[in-house]
């Protein structure tokens, strides 16, 4: 691998700006994931017991994930304009499938005997879901959230094409200036920032997963 000339100096000179971009990047990813969790876990809870809605939800969110990101950002310009709003909408669409799918899988894998005993003890439908089924499905659900986050950290860079925030800006700027002395350093710094952000978020999820999973479920 060829490092750009003076890469270290470039990062030091540009540190403040780069740091701001990383924070912006993390913000848009986490905001999108948060919305996707609300929507995705909700859809999973509503559909896991019924065959047709379940297949429909998984089908539609699966299709979202196959749309090329560049195209999707472009398509959202006419209804939503430029900037953060369309970027978040697109990212939420990409994040849905892993979250919905893992919510459904997790809830369906809960031991039916456990659910039956909860029902037999007089737990209402809602209480069963909140106290028994969701906590038992949680390790699988949070894995889905983690996968979605990883996907979004990469895709969020493309949001720069519609003036979205984050490290993608530097990548597109450098692409526009291929051949200039700083172009390679600029792209490289942005990519490195994305990779590091991805790693940090992944570690954070491992910790959160551990802290929020009952000791009775851990090996």
């Amino acid at each position: 691998m060829i490092l750009g000339v003076g890469f270290g100096e470039y990062v030091i000179d540009e540190w403040d700006r780069l740091f701001t971009l990383v924070v912006e990047h993390a913000q848009i990813v986490l905001m999108s994931v948060a919305i996707a969790v609300v929507v995705g876990v909700g859809l999973g809870m509503l559909t896991y017991r019924t065959e047709r809605p379940r297949v429909a939800v998984l089908g539609v969110t699966g299709v979202f994930l196959t749309i090329p990101s560049f195209a999707l950002f472009g398509l959202l310009i006419s209804p939503l304009g430029l900037g953060t709003k369309p970027a978040v909408v697109a990212l939420v669409m990409y994040a849905l499938l892993p979250i919905v799918r893992n919510t459904i899988t997790g809830l369906r894998e809960v031991d039916p005997a456990v659910v039956e005993s909860a029902q037999g003890m007089g737990m209402s439908r809602r209480r069963r879901l909140a106290r028994i089924e969701l906590p038992l499905a949680w390790p699988i659900i949070i894995t889905g959230i983690r996968v979605s986050t990883q996907i979004l950290v990469g895709i969020a860079a493309i949001a720069a094409v519609i003036n979205g925030p984050g490290l993608g800006k530097d990548i597109f700027r450098s692409l526009a200036r291929v051949g200039t002395p700083t172009a390679v350093n600029q792209a490289l710094a942005a990519v490195l920032g994305i990779v590091i952000l991805g790693l940090l978020l992944d570690i954070a999820y491992l910790l959160i997963g551990r802290l929020t999973t009952s000791r009775g479920l851990r090996e």
């Binding site: 005997a113 909860a118 003890m121 009775g216």
Partner: protein
Amino acid sequence: MNDPMIRLEGVTKRYPGQDRPAVEHIDLNIPDGEIVIFVGPSGCGKTTLMKMINRLIEPTSGRIFIQGEDVTRANPDELRRRIGYVIQQIGLFPHMTIGDNIATVPKMLGWDSARISKRIDELLELVGLDGPTFRSRYPKQLSGGQRQRVGVARALAVDPPVMLMDEPFGAIDPITRDRLQNEFLRLQADIRKTIVFVTHDIDEAIKMGDRIAILREGAQVAQYDTPQHILSAPADDFVADFVGAGASLKRLNLTRVRDVELTFWPTVAIGAERAEVLSALRASDKGAVLILDGRQRPLRWVTARDIERGDIPLEQAGLEPEAIVEPQSTLQDALNLMLDSSHGAAVVVDGNGGYLGAVDFATVAHAIQGMRVEAREQLRAAAGLGDGGAAAS
């Protein structure tokens, strides 16, 4: 006579798309404080019938009364909090501690935490587990038998008058199962709950039930009676087939040694002269004399040959009595030991090991005959009253 704890009136369950109802018009009274077993071949509807009592399955028609109250239209969640429920797979909540598992229903009923905590320790002790050790453990840290006990403790949490148990000992190895069954019977002797217990195992039904409902397809009641009566006088061929061969042997499981007339074998105190021992033996029709120690405890079985040998002191001659039972042992246990023993007799001793008598073939044969006569007389008396014997108690 008291009102029954649970009364089923014309209870029917019909599933759409099936030509025959799973449960067809059942009337059944379940008396207060008894264990009533629903037993029958698989697919007979016994579990469906049980689950209609706490309305995990809603009856298509008919009415269900608990303590005289029609619960067919009651709020099902509130109804279930008043009924203990134990299933074969137990279904402990794996993400909660044993304490939190037991606290489930008390919390829903809004008990304060001090009362709940006290109750958890009480219940764990009741089922033979140490409270402080077990309450903070998770289900996966427990053995199958321990989980089963916790399942029972959880079902008893708010002291419900009624418990439903769906093959509660079905998934447990035979040795542990036997122990848990005995423990449960001892527990029930104290708590006197009204229990509906589903099993497919007629031996378990005979052992656990105060009353057994033998069900055929459509949950039709083929016979509803005490285990003794079902074994002595099966209502029809279906019941006889289901009870299977060896009804007399099964009845031995229902009879305790203390309930039968013991046989007396010759005994002598330790230190007796050989001539005296020999004359004791000659005076009886048995083949051996039992030597007792100073505290009346059985020491050796000696035969005429042992006595005549003369070179060994009597307290070391012959054989040590190995077949020893107590009054609360079942006749089946006694028979088992007796068959393995050298002289065909099981020695009966009291709690201090003192000799009370013996069980031999004559004892068992006599006991079986007695049971048969008694059952026949009871049936005749019941028939004379014209109620078919099912309601007599």
